[in-house]
Symmetry: C2
Subunit: 144 residues, 2 copies
């Protein structure tokens, strides 16, 4: 097997696509995807978020969030309630159907994270995680 010289960004893009594909398969039985499940996690911890706020938190643009949330409501995982104080906005809430499956999904994520980091020591995991946070902060600066 040949190799191209690896730098941080090539690694990142390969890793992204590999894990995304796996997650999509694992979440298919809930009709969720690697992109959509995180909305549920965030709504679980924050009742009544608006779409624009959740877009910020997830790091998607508002168009993506609108489409994802529409899909999640169609699937019965999320309800949109009109905001009494701002008639442009929705407040987002999880349904019981969503709360029921969230623990299973969390397990799937934990399982995948465990699988791909199996060859790392605890120290390597910590350093990698904190380095990625630093890198991400720099990367975000680029796009502003």
């Amino acid at each position: 097997m040949g190799q191209e010289p690896m730098n941080m960004m090539m690694l990142n893009s390969k890793l992204y696509r590999n894990t995304q594909g796996y997650l999509d398969k694992a979440l298919k039985k809930y009709d969720l995807s690697s992109g959509s499940f995180r909305y549920l996690f965030i709504m679980e911890e924050n009742e009544g978020l608006s779409q624009s706020r959740i877009s910020e938190l997830i790091g998607h643009d508002k168009a993506m969030s609108a489409r994802t949330i529409t899909r999640l409501t169609e699937l019965g995982y999320v309800v949109r309630i009109e905001d009494q104080l701002d008639s442009r906005a929705y407040k987002l809430y999880l349904t019981d159907k969503a709360r029921l499956i969230l623990p299973e999904i969390r397990e799937e994520i934990k399982k995948l994270t465990g699988l791909i980091t199996a060859d790392l020591t605890e120290e390597e995991k910590e350093i990698t995680l904190s380095s990625l946070v630093k890198i991400l902060n720099k990367a975000r600066e680029l796009n502003t």
Copy 2:
């Protein structure tokens, strides 16, 4: 600014999209993108590769490679020569136009890599890089 708890995969996906967007802008003046420039790098070091071989090396499926390479030939960066020994296959070669811009592109990549890793020590960079390689190898196993 609120934060969701970060795990490896969420970081990775955010990082992927942030760096991709930046690179796309940086490479736009060559009509290249974050996905296509790597084909040029690989062809530079490997004369006469087939599309299926380059797909393996890059980690894209052959459909993606076919489309990308078609575009690169339209742009005049790559030529497809029919393989004398296997009439199904092409052999791929860089043009002079491509060789001319490759050093500049390499600089762009180096610049971006430098920017996003600016807050890391040398040790952190090394550990992060080698950990990501380990993670990627595990992730690849998942999809086979």
